[in-house]
Homo-oligomer: 307 residues x 2
């Protein structure tokens, strides 16, 4: 990933901190997928295939680092934030499994590996996604004091007026005239809500009040719009090998992207505008200390990136 | 439905009480599917098609009547039980939508109407199921004081070591030698957990302690095993028109049923045995009053039924 104007030493620190917390997230994911009575081995393998098959773990890192930066009186321990981060990654992964199905985007490759329905079969992939969603909500509900609120945030962000709704709008947009309002609506649901959620969850677990939680969510949504716009630019410009997924699929399928609507140069300018706006909103919530700076450096990676 | 040895007057009362509460459930389901910003109309229509397309609403009734019968100090109001009942029916409906998909059971008919993927399309049906699951957990989480516990019960019952796990075992069983242990495991996950859940949720919302909640769950699981055994008998004996779904599918697909393993007569005896056992367990928890009797009459319908 490119980290823009950040000095070399800070960049190395950032990468090391990301790698360290990514290892914690991997371990938590593995722990929460442990064998259990009544959990069929084939289902578990399918869930593990997609959940533990790499990935940047951006959403978990956003949650953990928002929790670190905003920690106030009454904050939940970091172990709880880690559980919430793992649950959110499960939601993200279930959406990828279902999105890759033949009836949806019909993709064979994800994170450089065969997608779940290719490695197993379609029925198992449907169930693996369903199981990850249930598992995620169960984990969130078990977090002391804040379980119900966390479930509420994620159910709204991932539900029919959030992520699932955005995917439906995306399907329904195929072959229809593209407008800026439609692109924004699709990206808001499909992507931005699940970038707002980790910042809101981190703030909640840090002990912040409802106003700060809502403001963190709003900042995250803007950053999520920038993230999706950057992703669509990469899809046009990137090669399949670098991305670890099939490049050029969006144009093939008439997907709703800013690039398609206004061209590469304008989409690039829009990405930066959205990213700077979200960063500004987030900065207003954060203390001017190393933990705050670290979170701001992380969110730049969402939209200033080359892969 | 047949209600066995119940006198005519009591039978009429039971049917009237079921119809009255079913209307409350329908109204709650409709209310929780109201249009909302970001909720795409086509997705909403697909969710409504399956959720509001009839159905006996047995799980919601079990929950409401367990709550009525067990109500103790500190009980949640009946409105909360109704919300929980609607959420559970959403979980059940999402599982039917996904189960009917071409990659799963490939069924065209459900509750006498075209299945979701036939009436809409496969991608929309996948998303409608996903959206119902998220919506259900969001509703449960919003229930005062007991939201997190309710989410925990449902996530466990519907998750990878519950309903989703049972469906996977069912898939994996195709073409393999059938044993009693396997049939029991499949039925336990696929069906029984989601009959245990409403009794456990009703007990929890009634203000019962953990021991009673767990005992209600156990009684419900036995009744759920009886319910599935009765369903498989109906599938062999029933006609498509009466069932509102395609009859005879189980035998076609080598599904794991007691009928297939041990024949109609033995399966019928087993059904009654399981049903009586579950009823006995449940009776031990209930007060000997009209609300307790009414719940016991309802659970008989799970396994003593002709449709």
């Amino acid at each position: 990933m490119s980290v823009g104007a950040i000095p070399d030493a800070a960049r190395a620190d950032l990468a090391a901190a990301m790698a360290a917390d990514r290892r914690l997230v991997e371990a938590a994911l593995r722990r929460h997928l442990a064998p259990a009575p009544g959990f069929p081995p084939r289902l578990r393998r399918a869930m593990a295939h997609s959940l533990l098959g790499g990935g940047k773990r951006l959403r978990p890192l956003l949650l953990l680092w928002a929790h670190d930066a905003l920690r106030a009186r009454g904050a939940s321990p970091r172990a709880d934030a880690l559980t919430a981060a793992a649950a959110l990654e499960m939601i993200h992964t279930y959406s990828l499994i279902h999105d890759d199905l033949p009836a949806m985007d019909d993709d064979d490759l994800r994170r450089g590996r065969p997608t779940c329905h290719v490695a197993f079969d379609e029925a198992t992939a449907i169930l693996a996604g369903d199981g990850l969603q249930a598992l995620a909500f169960g984990l969130l509900a078990g977090i002391p004091r804040r379980g119900a609120d966390l479930v509420g945030i994620v159910a709204s962000a991932a539900g029919p007026a959030g992520m699932v709704g955005g995917q439906q709008e995306d399907l329904d947009a195929a072959g229809r005239p593209l407008t800026g309002a439609l692109v924004r609506r699709i990206h808001a649901g499909k992507t931005a809500r699940l970038i707002g959620a980790p910042l809101a969850m981190g703030a909640l677990l840090a002990g912040c009040g409802p106003a700060t939680v809502a403001a963190a969510d709003r900042a995250g949504r803007d950053l999520g719009l920038a993230f999706q716009a950057a992703d669509d630019l990469l899809d046009v410009e990137g090669a399949t090998a670098d991305l670890g997924k099939t490049a050029g699929k969006d144009a093939d399928q008439d997907k709703a992207t800013w690039v398609r609507l206004e061209g590469v140069a304008a989409a690039r300018a829009r990405t930066a505008r959205l990213g700077r706006g979200g960063t500004r909103r987030l900065r207003e919530l954060l203390p001017a200390d190393p933990r705050g700076e670290r979170l701001l450096a992380l969110v730049r990676l969402l939209w200033e990136r080359d892969r």
